[in-house]
């Protein structure tokens, strides 16, 4: 158990006005800005998905032309990955890690603010990439998908340059944030907060940070080569000059596959807190779980080419990537087993965060199973670029990443705002969004197996029923987020006062110091190191 001494001395003055946010060096304020930014982006990315699903309600062209549709595909992915999940996870890291480990703030508070403010700049640049294509002489929309494969991306118009530099800005932001978070975890722990006393969320971000430091420079290098091919006459992705378009796929997925774990791990970290709290039992096999996270991080770095089985790699290479990919199910499976054993014989209650936690275990396992199907080379040659893949990674990323963040939002909203959220509305939101999600993406497994290609604006009438169901589900799934927004605004504006520790089971096992602080915590949580017994 932990015991905390906080000193509310003269340091606790809160800057006023807009300067508080623009010039902030406070981890809570920056965390809040991250979370608000990702919420705004969630609606932008969601709106693009809604337009796509409306277009796909029926076969034939309805509301958007194919070029715009492809642009929506591109932007939906970029916004959701870089604008929603990563900033939300980074916002939670900002808010929670310092107060969990007893640090006064992040290790490098000004750098922290830079990491955040780069994001809106990247957002503006991404929006410009869409806008410029409507100006004359700029050469069409960015229609490559977020993977930006050449030669299409080399031929694309000026919007592609904006996307390339969007990725550069996002990359700088992610690397700086990762450096900051890793340094905070290594250097800023309060005396007595040893490595294996860290809450799992802190561990998850430690590995996420390491991954980001290793993979973001590779993507930056890849898109830089793309830029040079586009404007400076290099031959990197052109076979006529001795280059190779396939190389870009290797570079992209060397980044892209670990990126999946960047999105996933923080949510696993949230689960590592939510499941024990509402099961009122310590996390089962905490230390092995940390080691399995390390194994996931290491394995995740060396299996990228399972995204490109169809490019004509040799048998030996594909076999290696197949076996490596299937091995990943071991650490992931162990994490899920650990959560299940935590619940075993626990005295469970089902508040909203816990509902999301259980849903994640069920639906993310489902994505794991389809993932093994896709990892098997001969099978994947059939599934490749079909809607089956779309269904697979949405089952991986929406429960795996997004629902984990929702669980975190409901778990920590009382701490952040000082008010309890409306439990009844929270449960309605959970059921509404979970059912909507499954209705949207479950039928896509079937249409994909039946041969419907992904990233397509029109489709054969044989897929009409599945797409209709999918679109109906998508509208429900999308609308449910208005309720999400309402719950958050309602909680911020008022409601039942939250105690310091609103969750009965939150002090069991490896816990941080966050529940010992008031809700909401003071502007500066610790001005001197707290003591941990």
């Amino acid at each position: 158990m932990s015991e905390v001494a906080t000193h509310d001395d003269h340091h606790d003055h809160v800057p006023s006005g807009i300067g508080r946010w623009l010039f902030s060096t406070n981890h809570k304020d920056i965390g809040t800005m991250y979370l608000i930014f990702s919420l705004v982006m969630l609606f932008l990315g969601g709106a693009s998905a809604m337009v796509m699903r409306m277009e796909l309600f029926f076969p034939g062209l309805q509301i958007v032309d194919p070029d715009t549709f492809n642009n929506l595909v591109t932007n939906h992915a970029l916004i959701m990955v870089f604008g929603v999940v990563m900033p939300a996870a980074a916002g939670m890291a900002n808010w929670m890690i310092p107060i969990m480990i007893g640090a006064p703030d992040m290790a490098l508070p000004r750098l922290n603010n830079l990491s955040f403010w780069l994001l809106p700049m990247a957002g503006i640049m991404l929006i410009l990439s869409m806008v410029v294509s409507y100006l004359p002489g700029t050469g069409g929309q960015v229609n490559t998908g977020w993977t930006l494969y050449p030669p299409l991306s080399v031929q694309a118009g000026m919007g592609m340059d904006f996307v390339i530099f969007t990725i550069h800005i996002l990359g700088i932001s992610s690397i700086l944030a990762a450096i900051n978070i890793v340094t905070t975890i290594v250097n800023m722990r309060a005396p007595g907060m040893t490595w294996f006393k860290l809450p799992l969320f802190v561990w998850s971000w430690f590995f996420t940070g390491l991954l980001l430091i290793m993979i973001m420079p590779v993507l930056a290098g890849g898109v830089t080569m793309l830029l040079f091919d586009r404007h400076f006459g290099t031959a990197f992705f052109d076979a006529a000059g001795g280059g190779d378009p396939v190389l870009f796929q290797h570079l992209f997925w060397f980044f892209g596959h670990p990126e999946v774990y960047v999105l996933l791990l923080p949510s696993i970290g949230v689960l590592g807190l939510v499941i024990p709290t509402f099961s009122r039992k310590p996390l089962f096999a905490y230390k092995p779980l940390v080691w399995f996270m390390a194994m996931l991080t290491a394995l995740g770095m060396v299996v990228w080419a399972h995204h490109q089985y169809t490019i004509g790699m040799s048998l030996g290479v594909t076999t290696y990537f197949m076996i490596g990919t299937i091995l990943i199910s071991i650490p992931v499976g162990m994490m899920l087993m650990s959560f299940i054993f935590t619940m075993w014989r626990g005295s469970m209650t089902f508040e909203t965060p816990m509902l999301f936690g259980i849903a994640i275990i069920l639906m993310f396992s489902f994505a794991g199973v389809t993932g093994v199907m896709l990892a098997v080379v001969p099978a994947d040659l059939q599934y490749h670029d079909s809607y089956f893949v779309v269904a697979h990674f949405h089952y991986a990323l929406i429960p795996g990443a997004l629902f984990g963040l929702y669980a975190g939002v409901f778990y920590w909203l009382p701490k952040w705002t000082g008010h309890m959220y409306d439990e009844k509305l929270g449960k309605i939101f959970f059921w509404w969004t979970t059912i909507g999600f499954n209705v949207t993406f479950f039928p896509q497994h079937f249409s994909g197996l039946a041969g419907m290609p992904r990233r397509i604006v029109d489709y054969s009438p044989q897929f009409a029923e599945f797409n209709f169901i999918s679109s109906v589900g998508a509208m429900a799934f999308g609308l449910s987020h208005l309720l999400f927004l309402y719950i958050i605004i309602k909680t911020i504006r008022g409601g039942e006062k939250a105690p310091d520790n609103p969750w009965e089971g939150s002090q069991i096992g490896t816990v941080g110091l966050e529940w010992n602080l008031p809700s909401p915590p003071p502007f500066h949580s610790f001005t001197t190191p707290p003591t941990i017994k």
């Binding site: 010039f23 508070p109 450096i179 006529a240 040799s314």
Partner: protein, 289 residues
């Protein structure tokens, strides 16, 4: 682990948002510039000045705080670890290009030349012979092929010796710093800066020679592209490193560093050694092998 009694938290600062917006202006101008839109170079120039102002301001603020003695040992450790992870990310940036180099050499070009498990003959460009350095391109229509490849003797060899020596001189300066011998510190740093500038000049001359005599250009197919990408990004880092060295030389002259408190010196020294190691990789894999 913390050692100090109180924590240091900087006051609200305007530099981060100036940095973020400066990056935006610079890149926005650059995009317009490469798309041949006239105003782009103007906006880009404003961006460069903006960023220069930023570095003076932000680093100046940090130096002032340090000289006032605001930082405890924990802040120093945070800075060092931050620099360590930053250099780690730079290592991965360069590994990307080295990886690409060997992907082209060992997979793409042999494959185009008819090797490999699927291509039994070179179907795309019949008669193309796989070689490295690749001078005769599969299809030179859109490229300007080089006359010859860059050799390993001469300037590159001299540059290797110069850069390795500069690693020695900065270590000698560090010894001086630890002995509180200001003359040795400043002299070591000045020698390092001079060696850095000589390296830079020789590299510029080599580029000039390659462009004018050897017709080895960025547009000479994959060998030229890869050569300039690797040596160019290295040269950029040498330039940044040299600027950093000049700054800490001035600071050393102003007695900013003590035996215990010299993070900036260490950070620049690490960075310089990193640039050094990258060059050794370049010399072996790009020039020699």
């Amino acid at each position: 682990m913390t050692t100090d009694d109180t924590y240091f938290i900087p006051e609200p600062s305007r530099w981060p948002i100036i940095a973020a917006s400066g990056v935006f202006v610079l890149l926005f101008g650059f995009i317009l510039y490469i798309n041949n839109i006239g105003i782009g170079s103007m906006i880009g120039a404003v961006g460069i000045l903006w960023i220069a102002y930023l570095f003076f301001g932000w680093f100046g603020a940090v130096i002032d705080e340090n000289l006032k003695g605001d930082y405890g040992s924990q802040v120093g450790t945070s800075f060092r670890q931050g620099m360590f992870w930053f250099i780690t990310s730079e290592v991965f940036f360069f590994l990307t290009f080295f990886g690409c180099l060997y992907y082209f050499r060992d997979i793409t070009i042999p494959y185009l030349g008819g090797e490999g498990h699927l291509a039994k003959s070179n179907l795309l460009w019949e008669g193309f012979v796989a070689t490295w350095p690749l001078i005769d391109l599969p299809d030179p229509t859109n490229y300007s092929p080089a006359k010859e490849a860059m050799g390993a003797g001469g300037i590159p060899l001299w540059n290797t010796i110069i850069l390795l020596s500069s690693g020695g001189t900065i270590t000698w300066a560090h010894w001086g710093l630890k002995k509180a011998n200001k003359n040795q510190l400043v002299l070591g740093l000045i020698m390092t800066v001079v060696l850095g500038l000589i390296f830079f000049s020789l590299q510029a001359y080599e580029y000039f020679h390659a462009y004018s005599e050897m017709n080895l250009k960025l547009t000479s197919g994959i060998y030229g592209s890869m050569f300039y990408m690797l040596t160019g990004f290295h040269g950029l880092h040498v330039t940044i490193g040299t600027i950093m060295l000049i700054v800490i030389t001035i600071r050393a002259m102003k007695d900013h560093f003590t035996e215990e408190n010299h993070f900036a010196f260490e950070a620049v020294a690490w960075y310089w050694h990193f640039v050094d190691v990258v060059w050794i990789g370049l010399y072996f894999f790009v020039y020699w092998l």
